[in-house]
Amino acid sequence: MSERFLELIDISKIYPGVTALDRVSFSVSRGEVIGLVGENGAGKSTLMRVLGGVTEPSGGTIRIDGVARASLTVAEAIKAGIAFVHQELNLFDNLDVAGNIFIGREPLHAGPLKLIDRKRLRAQVRPLLERLAVDFEADRLVAELSLAQRQLVEIMKALSLDARLVIMDEPTSSLTLTETDRLLQVIDGLKAQGVSVIFITHRLNEVKRCADRAVVLRDGRVVGALAREAIAPATLIRLMIGRDLKSLYIPPASPPGDRVLDIVEVRTATYPDRAVSLSVRRGEILGLAGLVGSGRTELARAVFGIDPLRGGSIRLEGEPIRIAEPSAAIERGIYLVPEDRKRSGLLLDFSIAENISLPDLASYARGMLVQTAAEVQNARRQRERLNIRTPDVMTAVGTLSGGNQQKVVLAKWLSMRPRLLIFDEPTRGIDVGAKQDIYQLLRRLADAGVAILMISSDMEEVIGVSDRIAVMHEGAISGFLERNQFSEHNVLELAVGHTV
Amino acid sequence: ADKKTLAFVVNGASDFWKIAEAGVKKAQGELPNYDLQFKYPEQAAPAVQQRVLDDLVAAGVAGIMVSAVDPKNQTEGLNKVAEQTLLFTTDSDAPKSKRVAYIGSSNTDLGKEAGKLMLKALPDGGKCVGFVGLLGADNARERIEGVKETIKGSKVELVDVRGDEIDQTRAKRNVEDILAANPNVSCLVGFYSYNTPRIYEVLKEAGKLGQIKIIGFDEDPITLGGVKEGSIVGTVVQQPFEWGYQGMKLMAKALEGDKSGIPANGIIIVPGKVIDQSNVTDFMAQMKQIMGK
């Protein structure tokens, strides 16, 4: 436990206008599990990117096995035994699962031609699939996997490396409880083998469960380190945001009103012989829980007009409607915050202001011409409201930290007048303090008469925020829970297809 | 009984060959026992043309008259054709091949005619610039050579020839640029049929018609109009109508065993004509009649 093989000394990283890291020092010992926490934009990912050789630090020293250097390349990092699960997924859609996991390290046939030994590749992938007990095959194209499944592929990729240090940047942000449990077990296993793990998460319970040490970053500086025994969510939160948090659940101001959305016997592509029926009421927050791949995202996509319905109908305030395009949904006040912000939520090269105004651009225009001043003004308002960390709303969204990007996605819809908001993993990658703000916001929206359908894999969030929970299992609703029935146990039972 | 087929294969699509086609049509009227075809390869490339020839041989034609794209290097391919059918060449000869006869004009001679026009137009000498589509093409080289040979030793000079890749926009643009670059140029020569009209237009727009002499080749309507108007000194034309007409009739005769029309060396030259203001009206009337318009 004592052998400190990796040390970061006074690492700084300065971006134009932003000091992402300010003389951070940090060390890793063999077999140590470090929980790295901090608010959105605190610099966690940047620090890890420096370690992974992806980002060149502006100053400081990296010492590996006693050898000091100013920066690393990816190849050097890999050679030093550092494996990295990036916060934003970096997979090859055109390759299959096995190909992605072993990219760069394919087992070869003998001979100078460097032909891939496909048999051995399969054999090497199998134990990994079993280790995480995933529900897809090694030869599935990654393009066909859901976000959570892709996340699992990323994790397997890092696990396959035989690394000394595995860095996981928010690996659980789209996983449900079951996969998260399994992952935490895997981390315990790594630790037993003497592998070190740095684990970034906004779900503080996970830190408590697995970390030997918790390091807290704030504004690019280390503001505290807690030993195993001292780790408690409340303490972490205080260090992170400098104040305490109240309980999650905020009761509604008034009982729910009329039904806003009725989903009647809707069928989707993956589960064409299963139908989903549910309704959301005005002023209600309906949580939608389920395991990875249970079909929640597909349902949301169907309602929002991304995918065609395979059957059934949708009614808005009692009127049957046909939604062939997202634009039709938006016109009717149905908005969707997608789970994959990089692919579907944001234009990474566009500025914050331009992203926020995009769905409602006409209202920022005089005649046909966009009034930039109006866009900027609104973007600034949203920045204050959601506490988006950026000096300038004209910067490209791609340069924001993950959590702040998520806030921009929310800001897009909050600038408009929703009737029904569908949130698919709304707080994916958002820090605890900001989460609290968002929950309050959800409640305020609901109280103002908006119906909210919140898909979430975060158990705490589902139980803490919803007024009612619907649970999906393999493409169908396996049950509803009222507030008095809420419990982790009940949600899980329904999620695996049992009844309660 | 099946009629025998004779084919006229050209080197690429152009208006020039429309006149030859009219000649072939006239011959068809006089050769009821033959089926006369006129073929354009879709690109002016030897490989493409060779494929058309091979396909015709496979289809069993009795005789082929061809304007080879690249006669020097197509000799072998032409011989393959000549072994199986009666082969005439036209427009540009392949003297080393086993073709039976060549019917056409000599581009060098045409160039010489143009050179004479230049000497006549510029008795006091002057600088000339030429314009052409493909500088490297045989017909362009021979015409330019002919011009240079004739004006050698005189005060008339051909200082430059600009190519344009058969792009009309660039053809016109080249004329504009040359006027800008050489203010003292005194005559412009259009070596391809479309070059002369472009020269005419640019000079017209610049108000320099008459000041700068124009000498052309071929029978574009605008060229003829300019000659008639007096702003183009003259144009040297070939007689493709005669190639088509006489060539087809000679082929038919040769197939029937009468080779009297073919000289010993196999070369039948149909001389070019110089069209100037004196004969342009007659020529235009003649063209109109030939083309049936």
């Binding site: 692919r343 331009e354 966009v370 | 690429g12 152009s14 009309q168 926009t169 080249n174 237009e201 605008i222």
Partner: protein, 312 residues
């Protein structure tokens, strides 16, 4: 947007450097007549380069520009010369044709989900073939005597402004460019074009009807190409359907890419495209003015572009 403006600036610098060098070697480069001629070419080529840019910005490509210019040019001359149709009607007809071609391309790309490269490559082949078949490979021209003074003045004429004979094609380009600038850089539609080009999925999730946007881009491209076809037909006054306008799509794409458009979509500015066109035309001019052998024309063009991009 900032990066783009910097790109425009460095392109401008390159043009000025090339221009200065040429002017030092041959001062006639700066003659009013020469500048006016070059400007005229810029006008002709600029219009369809802007057309191309609209499609490239949505992440597509339009390869049939040259063939469309040939086909519509032939039709235009035929309508006026052989069918005696009023030139205003002929212009309207040709532009309608361009818009229709654009609409077909756009629908094939967005509805049938065929790659833009394939759709427009087929267009390149088909329109050229139809143009050649339509005229039986004969050159279509206005002939010697026929004249349409108003049409000619409007399209190919020049007006003296402060002693500079301003070609009307430049006026057309200026108007087209100004409108395109406003549309692309200031309007809602323009923003949508960039959004669809950058990330179609995210654009769709924001409620943009990406299909419509793509179709509109091709329709605009078709219409502007038709306009260019008329201008070019009036400039050359004669069209050999087999070669007229061939390779012009490469010119257009080159101008757009030089001007900062990325073939991956979502990038590019009108100013850049116009500057790209200017550079290409100055290079053409330079070859003739410096008396470089015509055979080296292309080589000079390629070398200067490469040096310019490298120096950037």
């Amino acid at each position: 947007m900032n990066a783009l403006q910097k790109k425009d600036l460095s392109l401008l610098v390159l043009i000025i450097v090339v221009g200065t060098v040429v002017a030092l070697i041959n001062p006639r480069f700066l003659l009013v007549g020469n500048i006016s001629n070059t400007a005229n070419q810029v006008g002709l080529f600029g219009v369809f380069s802007i057309a191309e840019a609209f499609v490239i910005i949505t992440g597509g490509i339009e390869l049939s520009v040259g063939s469309v210019i040939a086909l519509l040019g032939v039709v235009f001359i035929d309508l006026i010369v052989n069918h005696g149709i009023n030139w205003i009607a002929a212009c309207a007809f040709v532009i309608a044709g361009g818009l229709a071609i654009g609409a077909v391309h756009g629908l094939l790309v967005s509805r049938m989900h065929i790659q833009p490269f394939v759709v427009t490559l087929c267009g390149l082949l088909i329109y050229r073939g139809v143009a050649r078949y339509y005229t039986e490979d004969a050159t279509a021209g206005f002939g010697f005597s026929s004249s349409f003074p108003t049409l000619e003045w409007m399209t190919a004429g020049r007006t003296n402004i402060l002693n500079f004979p301003l070609p009307h094609s430049v006026v057309v380009l200026f108007v087209v460019g100004a409108v395109a600038w406003v549309v692309l850089h200031r309007s809602v539609f323009g923003r949508y074009l960039y959004a669809v080009g950058k990330n179609e999925e995210a654009a769709r999730y924001s409620g943009i009807r990406s299909g419509r946007i793509v179709v509109s881009a091709y329709v605009i491209c078709g219409g502007l190409t038709a306009l260019a076809a008329i201008l070019i037909a009036m400039y050359t006054r004669s069209i050999s359907p087999a070669v007229h306008g061939s390779f012009y799509e490469l010119y257009a794409i080159a101008a757009a890419v030089l001007g900062g458009c990325s073939l991956r979509g979502g990038e590019g500015s009108i100013m850049g495209v116009v500057l790209g066109t200017i550079l290409l035309q100055v290079l053409q001019n330079l070859v003739n003015l410096l008396g470089i052998p015509s055979s080296l024309n292309f080589a000079v063009m390629g070398t200067v572009i490469l040096i310019g991009v490298l120096a950037d």
